[in-house]
Amino acid sequence: MASLDPQEKPLRPWALLSPALTAILLLLVIPVCFIAVYSFWLRTATGADIAGFHLDNWAEVLGDAFYRDILGFTIWIAFATTVICALVGYIPAYFIAMTQFRHKAYLLLLLMLPFWISYIIRTMSWINILGTSGVVNVGLQWLGLTDEPIQMLYNQWTVIIGLVHFLLPFMILNVYVSLYAIDRNLIDAARSLGSTPWQAFTEVTLPLSLPGLAAGSLLCFVLAAGTYITPLVLGGPTDAMFANLVFDAIITQLNWPLGSALSLVLLALLGVLVAVYNRFAGMGQIAKSFG
């Protein structure tokens, strides 16, 4: 008993934490600080770095309309994905939370399955559906509605479909968690006081589920805005998102200082969102869905 008392062993929690904290410090905190410094260096044509305080990368990233347009496009894609996830995801979350269905545990389990199915496979699976020899085109031709396959893939909408497919479980789970916690008596009370089912929903259920909706939206937006795989697999040549720029700068052009500056822009954008969310809601809401 005595040794579990924090007063007696003040160092023990730190000993337990030290491996994890060391890893986070060495592999995350210091590297992020490093790229902040690195973004002011210059990469010469010969591939050597010039250390120092040069604003060239930042001038390029912040001044060039090319980067600004892609940043705007990225925000648009992430926003559209989040809104669709919220609208589409609310329905099953509501159903699972409110249903008397005996096997609702299985519905929840099914909801967890996509987390375990590889992202790349779920993304590429849409080629089987929407590709020129995919399910939809073969179906349309078989019905005689079209003579030739329609090119449905490789545009911003297929990027959005792929992202919604990937992120929907995050939204449903978060909304479900907050809907499930609502005291049913509140809804019954609203009904018995004369409100219609729709009024009871908009004035009681919906406001009480906002924390889950906000947590799900944050996850969807942040994960959507940071992706570069989905645009590469399901997007066309003009559908590059901001993370694609980062990937190109680092892996293709090997311009590491420029890539650093680009990553920091993405980090700043999403970091502000996370910080605002944390200020108003706190991270505990997101942790709940792991329980």
Binding site: P6, R12, A23, L28, Y94, W116, I229, S263
Partner: protein, 264 residues
Amino acid sequence: MPSGWSLIRLGTILVYLFMFAPVAVVVLLSFNSSQFGSFPMEGVSFRWFVELWNNDAIVRAFQTSLVLGALTSVISTTLGVLGSLAMVRYSFPGKNLIATALIAPILVPEVVLAVALLLFLGALGQPKSFVLLLAGHVIFTLPFVVLVVQARLVGVRREYEEAAMSLGAGPVQTFFQVTLPLILPAVLAGGLFAFTISFDDITGTLFWKPGGVETVPTQIFAMLRNSISPEINALGTVMIVMTVALPLLGAAAARRLSRGRGGG
């Protein structure tokens, strides 16, 4: 129930269809005997699975992914369980900050995490290597392990540990003989989670992997560059079976374990 309810039910069914139909099509097409990975199905065959087995690049990618996933899982779970014990069992100054630090790797976009780690180790003169890949996977999976293990750990009562200690067991003995068996389901869940995330990861892996090394997801990605083939669908089916069946088996095993011990 109002008629609105039947609309909600219909909507739910449609959303589930949207989530699972594409995956079902992948599995279905992987048994297609036709040369092209598309409809119409010409017949059922296992030829694409045989071809996977004979494809050296794919077998190597599988080995890499399995080794990487296993090592990631062991390291990440060890760090995560120790950290979670500190977070759940002790109170100390600065705990909120530490809690944020422990989940920081998922608050930072994965692309940024990937770039920072790659460039930092690059500046230290470390070329891309398997160790870099492993370090990246460990740091990226750590928060998930911490969240899962913490959530389970809260439910494990500490009276057992206190009893063991008051009967004279040392802290290490208590941990291995009392705490660890009690939290084993949490440890297994965390380990399995870390393995699956590592096994599936592509965003960071494409940055970190050394030239010539492929994991299963990067191998699929490279094959997609040409066109979608029945082989990709077969590979997808194998991965789906692995990542879905494994956790389900694990969950069943964990439940049996905890039931056998009457707690947890």
